[in-house]
């Protein structure tokens, strides 16, 4: 069943930035876009299971730190090789300065 979890506070993520959020045995990447909107994807790159929170956010793309694969973090779509499998994305909402994600 889907459940909402508090991932972080709004100010914990820089504009055009990313942080890691762990929940149980799962790990996620939480992004803040240049316009201040929040997004959430799987934490690990679909190519070699490296955490994307160490990657680089530019506009609406996250680039994996290891082999420079890139994804659109709003949709999870793989944008640049090597990964060719999209990331899963998760619903996000902001309430009273807290960032919540829905994990199914």
């Amino acid at each position: 069943m889907a459940q909402w979890f508090e991932a972080c506070g709004v100010d914990d993520v820089e504009l055009e930035g990313v942080i890691r959020f762990d929940n149980g045995d799962r790990t996620f990447a939480v992004y803040r876009s240049p316009d201040g909107d929040f997004y959430c994807t799987d934490g690990l790159c679909s190519h070699e299971a490296v955490h994307l929170a160490d990657g680089f956010v530019m506009d609406y793309e996250i680039e994996c730190p290891k082999h420079s694969g890139a994804f659109d973090y709003r949709t999870g779509a793989a944008k640049r090789l090597p990964p060719c499998v999209n990331l899963r994305t998760y619903p996000v909402r902001v309430e009273q300065g807290r960032v919540l994600i829905e994990v199914a």
Binding site: E14, E16, H47, V50, D54, G55, F56, M58, E63, P65, K66, H67, S68, L81, P82, P83, C84
Partner: protein, 436 residues
């Protein structure tokens, strides 16, 4: 889309590595519907090569992954001939002769033959193993299981990655390098010093200035003798003395050769119907005054493979991707963007103990290369930023580059530079250390 190229005989690709497969997949993605035939010497399904000197050498490792996006290439209508060698190119007839007796006609030909390990040209040099292909890696992995000592000839990337993998397996490892330091050509000196330090701490002995003079069989393996009279006995000797572009076929076909198969900025060779991409090709790079480069790097093979698909279909663009490569040794990473050797001024940035970035500026102050060593988390972002600065031909302020409290991303986006926000506990600690 309107292609200049439709119908038969279609496109033949020699080489089923990263560049060749990527080209085939991209041709289909771009809507090319003619026939595509890829000829690969190795019997294995196309695979990622970088893990061969790293993860594949571990005792319980699986095979390397398939080339990304190419696992189902035959379902995309690509005719994949594996275990088949291209033995000749008849440019007049526009056809490739294969080792299984076929004649493969082409409208356009892509040569993506890659590179091969250079052999040791000393007496007994054949007694040393080399590493380039999957079967080499499997053989080496088996030999590592039976050996207690390893001597690596050559302190380049392959040799050092292999030394790290063997040391991690518990072997006693020595690396002998002929030059005064490891990682000579491509890597800045302070970066190479950090890498040498990783190996020293892991217990790998690196001996520099050691020119090999011969190898002979020995009771417990092999004995290497050096020009200075030193000798060393090891259960296994591996040569990591670089790779040479595979140009034999292109040479025999009369194509221009210049440190690899000479291509233009579109990756077209001296024959307008023949293209070259990846490790085997040299090309003029627009970011470096059209200097002719040949890159032995996974990403270059990937990017040129994708790019050349456009050229094969008549595209006029020039290939201008910033060179980028990485090496993993132990738990550390080394990443290089651009061409550090094209710089005349080096600026160091030390984000934290154990991590180092170097920035390389040309005479006009433009950033032309950057290198980073340390943990992935500490170096990857700044190298990605440097890569974008190089692509945009920026001339960043050296004082900002050198100051780890400044944000390089702000330079990139043209925002006024404020000291970077401290975002991790580790960063707080180093700040405290500065204060004390």
């Amino acid at each position: 889309m309107s292609n200049v190229l439709t119908g038969e005989p279609g496109i033949v690709v020699i080489g089923a590595g990263e560049a060749g497969l990527r080209a085939a997949v991209t041709l289909r993605e771009r809507g090319y519907e003619g026939s595509i035939t890829v000829v690969g010497e190795e019997p294995h399904a196309p695979y990622e090569r970088p893990p061969l000197s790293k993860a594949v050498l571990h005792p319980d490792a699986a095979s390397p992954p398939a080339i990304s996006g190419a696992g189902d290439v035959e379902a995309k209508g690509v005719n994949l001939l594996l275990g088949v060698e291209a033995v000749g190119v008849d440019r007049k007839a526009q056809s490739v002769a294969s080792s299984d007796g076929r004649s493969l006609p082409y409208a356009r030909l892509l040569i993506a033959t890659g590179a091969q390990a250079r052999p040791l040209v000393v007496e007994g040099g054949h007694l040393a193993t080399t590493l380039r292909r999957l079967d080499d890696a499997f053989g080496l992995r088996a030999n590592l299981a039976h050996s207690r000592t390893l001597l690596v000839i050559g302190g380049g990337f392959i040799g050092l990655e292999l030394a790290a993998a063997a040391r991690t397996r518990g072997l006693s490892v020595t690396v002998a390098e002929a030059a005064p330091r490891i990682l000579g050509r491509a890597t800045p000196e302070p970066v190479a010093a950090v890498v040498a330090d990783w190996h020293a701490q892991a217990g790998v002995e690196i001996r520099t200035g050691k020119t090999l003079s011969r190898i002979s069989a020995h009771r417990v393996g092999f004995e290497a003798e050096f020009a200075d009279g030193d000798g060393l006995v090891a259960g296994l000797i591996v040569a990591g003395v670089g790779a040479a572009p595979k140009t034999r076929l292109a040479e025999a076909a009369g194509l221009a050769i210049d440190n690899g198969i000479a291509a233009d900025a579109r990756l077209q060779t001296s024959d307008p119907f023949v293209y070259a991409a990846g490790d085997c090709a040299s090309f003029p790079h627009p970011l470096f005054e059209a200097r002719r480069l040949r890159l032995e790097a996974w990403r270059n093979a990937q990017d040129q493979g994708s790019f050349v698909a456009g050229s094969l279909l008549g595209g006029r663009d020039a290939y201008d991707a910033v060179p980028w490569f990485w090496s993993d040794q132990y738990d550390f990473t080394l990443q290089v963007a651009g061409l550090p050797s094209a710089g005349i001024r080096l600026v160091e940035r030390r984000p934290q103990a154990g991590a180092l970035l170097t920035f390389h500026l040309d005479a006009s102050g433009r950033l032309v290369g950057a290198a980073g060593v340390g943990s992935l988390a500490l170096v990857a972002k700044d190298i990605k930023i440097a890569e974008r600065m190089i692509a945009r031909r920026l001339a960043p302020d050296p004082e900002i580059l050198a100051d780890p409290r400044t944000s390089l991303k702000a330079v990139l986006s043209g925002k006024p530079n404020q000291p970077a926000a401290w975002t991790s506990a580790a960063a707080m600690i180093s700040f405290d250390q500065i204060q004390h």
